[in-house]
C-alpha cells in the first residue's frame, strides 16, 4: 500500500466523483488522489469508467457529483482551456490542416509567445520524441507511431503539470507498443511531471506505472504499486484481471493457517479472523511440479501448451483444474505432485 504523505504532495484530489449518462451510472463515488510526478495508470476492462474519469480530470466531461481539486483548488467549473493539464488523445487528434511544426506550436501561439522562442521549443520537443527534423512534414505522411510522438510533443510543449494519456498506444502493433512504453516512461522521468495513463492492457500498466488504480464497474477496486497489485490482489476480480490466477474458495482457520482444496496450508497472512471465509489466489508460475509422492497436491496433466518462455499446463485434481506455468514439460496424462510455498499463497477477503 502506498503511504499517505502530506496533502500538499497531491496534485489532483478526487472527492466523491460520480457520473451518470442518461440512466447509466458510469462512475460511483470515486475517491482518490494523484501525487506530483507520479506515473499513475487507470487500468480496467472496457466500460469500467476509466476514460470518463480521465475526461473529467481533463475538463471534457462534468462530474454529476463530487469535486476535482487541482493543487488544492476546485476546478470542476473550469473549461479545459484554462486547466494546466494537457491530453494525448486515443486517436492522436492531430490537426490535419497543419504540418508537424504548426501542430506542436498551436498551444504556444495561443499563448502569444515570440516566434523565435516557439521555433526553439518545437525543435526541443521534436528532439525529445526522437523526430528531429520533422518540422515541415505533413501530418498524414507520418506513421501511427510517429503521429503518436507528435501528439505527445504537442501536449508537452505547453509544459503542463499533468499529462493525460487516453490509451495512446492502442492503435500500434505489439513491437512498436513495447518500444513506446519504454519511451513514454523515459520521457516522464526526464521531464518529471505527473502522467495519468488509461489502458486496458495489464502488462502495459505493470511495465510503466508507479501506481496502478484498478477500476471495474465504475469503482476503484485497488490502488497500489504494480508489485502490490500483482502480489496482493484485493479481490478475485483484480487477481483475475492482472495476470493469470488460480482462485479457490477457502477458510482462514487461524492466523498463518488456511484451508482450501480440503487441505491445510501454512501461509504468511494474518488478521482475517478465525474460520473466516476467504478466497485464495495462487499464481500459475508459483506452483512447483514435483514427483507425485512429494507433492502437497496430486493431479493429472490434462494439456500442455508451449508459450515461448514456459509451458502452460492444465492439471486437474478432480476438484479443481490448476493452471501451472513451468519451464519443464510434463507429459499429458502423467500424474504429478504440486508444491505451493507459504509466501505464494495470497489471501483475499471474500466479496
Amino acid at each position: 500500500m502506498r503511504e499517505n504523505k502530506l496533502q500538499k504532495d497531491y496534485i489532483i484530489d478526487l472527492k466523491n466523483i460520480s457520473k451518470t449518462f442518461d440512466d447509466a451510472e458510469v462512475l460511483k463515488d470515486i475517491n482518490m488522489y494523484i501525487r506530483r510526478n507520479e506515473f499513475l495508470t487507470l487500468l480496467g476492462p472496457s466500460g469500467c469508467g476509466k476514460t470518463t474519469l480521465l475526461r473529467i480530470i481533463g475538463g471534457f466531461e462534468e462530474a454529476s457529483n463530487g469535486q476535482v481539486f487541482f493543487e488544492g483548488k476546485d476546478i470542476a467549473s473550469l473549461p479545459p482551456y484554462k486547466r494546466k493539464i494537457n491530453t494525448v488523445f486515443q486517436k492522436y487528434a492531430l490537426f490535419p490542416h497543419m504540418n508537424v511544426e504548426e501542430n506542436i506550436a498551436f498551444g504556444l501561439q495561443i499563448k502569444k509567445l515570440e516566434k523565435s522562442l516557439i521555433k526553439k521549443k518545437v525543435k526541443e520537443m521534436l528532439e525529445l520524441v526522437n523526430l528531429k527534423g520533422f518540422e515541415k512534414r505533413s501530418v498524414d505522411s507520418l506513421s501511427g507511431g510517429q503521429q503518436q510522438r507528435i501528439a505527445i510533443a504537442r501536449a508537452l510543449v505547453n509544459e503542463p503539470e499533468v499529462l493525460l494519456l487516453d490509451e495512446p498506444l492502442g492503435a500500434l502493433d505489439l513491437k512498436l507498443r513495447k518500444g513506446m512504453q519504454l519511451e513514454l516512461k523515459r520521457i516522464q522521468q526526464k521531464i518529471g511531471i505527473t502522467f495519468i495513463y488509461v489502458t486496458h492492457d495489464q502488462e502495459e500498466a505493470l511495465t510503466m506505472s508507479d501506481t496502478i488504480a484498478v477500476m471495474n464497474e465504475g469503482k476503484v477496486q485497488q490502488i497500489g504499486t504494480p508489485v502490490d497489485i500483482y502480489n496482493e490482489p484485493k479481490n478475485a476480480f483484480i487477481a483475475d484481471f492482472i495476470g493469470e490466477s488460480n482462485i479457490l474458495p477457502g477458510t482462514m482457520i487461524k492466523d498463518y493457517l488456511v484451508c482450501f482444496h480440503q487441505t491445510d496450508f501454512e501461509c504468511v497472512d494474518a488478521g482475517f479472523g478465525e474460520n473466516a471465509p476467504i478466497d485464495v489466489v495462487v499464481r500459475p508460475e508459483d506452483i512447483q511440479i514435483v514427483d507425485k509422492e512429494k507433492g502437497m497436491l496430486k493431479g493429472k496433466v490434462e494439456s500442455v501448451t508451449f508459450k515461448g518462455v514456459h509451458y502452460e499446463m492444465l492439471i486437474t485434481t478432480g476438484e479443481y483444474t490448476w493452471t501451472v506455468h513451468s519451464t519443464a514439460m510434463s507429459q499429458v496424462g502423467q500424474v504429478v505432485g504440486m508444491v505451493i510455498t507459504p509466501a505464494d499463497i495470497h489471501i483475499m477477503k471474500r466479496r
Binding site: G58, G59, F60, P79, P80, Y81, I85, N86, T87, F89, Q90, K91, A93, L94, F95, P96, H97, F106, G107, I110, K111, R154, A155, N158
Partner: protein
C-alpha cells in the same frame, strides 16, 4: 467485355449531346456565312450588355454571400451533437428541392405581388402595403431562396466529418471557443464552403427564370439576354457569343475555386 468498353455508350452520348452542340456554339459565335468575324463579341461591348454582365455578377455574389452567412451558422447548429431534432430541420431545408423551382418561384411571385397574398393581408390590417416585386432585391431574394440548400448541405457534411476529438484537442491546448472556431473548425470546413459557393454562385449567375418571374423584365441579367437571343430576336450568333463569354467566366471561377480548394487540402468537388 472489359470495364472500359462500358463507358463507350456514355462517350457517344457525350459526343453527340455535349461536344457537338458546344462546337456549334463556338462556330455560330465566330462565323457569319462561313466568314470569320468578331462582330458578335464586339456587340457585347455595348453598354447595355456590359451592365447586364456586371449586374449578374453583382447579384450572384450578393446572394452567395447572404446564403453563406445564413447557412454556416445553421449547418454548425445542425452538426452539433446536442441537437435532437436535426433530422427534421435538415428535411425542412431539403424539402423544397424536391419541388420544381419554377413552381416555387411562381408561388413567391403571387405571394409578393402588389395585390398578392402578403399585401392583401397588410391591407386588411390597415397597414401600408410594401412594393416587393420587380427589382434587384426581389431577384436576390429568389436566388437565396432557391439555392440556399446547396449552401447548407456541403457545409453541414464537412462539419459532421470533423472528428470531435480534434476540437477537444484545440480546447485542451488552450484555445477558447472563438479561437478554436477560427483556427480549427473554419479551416477544416473550407472544402464545404467552397463547394457551397460554387453550387450557389454558378446557377445564380446564369439564371433567367428567377429574374423573369421576380424581376418582371425590369432586371436584365446575362441569362435573360441569352434567352432573348434564342427565343425572341433569333440572333443565334450573338446568343452564342454571350454564352461563350459566360462559359469563360464560369471556367475562370471554377479554376480559381478549385485551386483554393486544393490549397486547403479538401476533398472537394473537382
Amino acid at each position: 467485355m472489359n470495364r472500359k468498353s462500358l463507358a463507350y455508350p456514355y462517350l457517344i452520348w457525350a459526343a453527340i449531346f455535349i461536344v457537338v452542340p458546344l462546337l456549334l456554339i463556338v462556330y455560330f459565335s465566330f462565323f457569319e456565312g462561313g466568314q470569320f468575324t468578331l462582330q458578335n463579341y464586339e456587340k457585347f461591348l455595348e453598354d447595355y450588355y456590359i451592365k447586364a454582365l456586371f449586374r449578374s455578377i453583382q447579384l450572384a455574389l450578393t446572394s452567395t454571400i447572404i446564403c453563406l452567412v445564413a447557412a454556416y451558422p445553421l449547418a454548425m447548429i445542425l452538426s452539433g451533437k446536442q441537437m435532437s431534432n436535426k433530422q427534421v430541420i435538415l428535411l425542412l431545408v431539403v424539402l423544397p428541392m424536391w419541388m420544381n423551382s419554377l413552381l416555387r418561384t411562381y408561388a413567391w411571385a403571387s405571394l409578393l405581388e402588389n395585390n398578392g397574398v402578403i399585401n392583401s393581408m397588410l391591407q386588411a390590417l390597415q397597414l401600408p402595403t410594401i412594393k416587393f416585386l420587380y427589382g434587384n432585391s426581389a431577384v436576390v431574394f429568389g436566388m437565396v431562396y432557391n439555392f440556399f440548400p446547396f449552401m447548407v448541405l456541403p457545409i453541414y457534411n464537412v462539419l459532421c466529418k470533423i472528428d470531435h476529438s480534434i476540437v477537444e484537442a484545440s480546447y485542451d491546448l488552450g484555445a477558447d471557443k472563438v479561437t478554436t472556431f477560427r483556427k480549427v473548425i473554419l479551416p477544416l470546413s473550407m472544402p464545404g464552403v467552397i463547394t457551397g459557393i460554387v453550387m450557389v454562385f454558378m446557377p445564380a449567375l446564369t439564371t433567367f427564370l428567377i429574374t423573369r418571374l421576380l424581376g418582371g423584365g425590369k432586371v436584365m441579367l446575362i441569362g435573360n439576354i441569352i434567352e432573348e437571343q434564342f427565343t425572341r430576336t433569333r440572333d443565334l450568333a450573338f446568343g452564342s457569343a454571350v454564352s461563350m463569354i459566360l462559359m469563360v467566366i464560369v471556367l475562370i471561377t471554377l479554376t480559381f475555386m478549385s485551386k483554393k480548394d486544393s490549397l486547403d487540402k479538401g476533398g472537394g468537388l473537382f
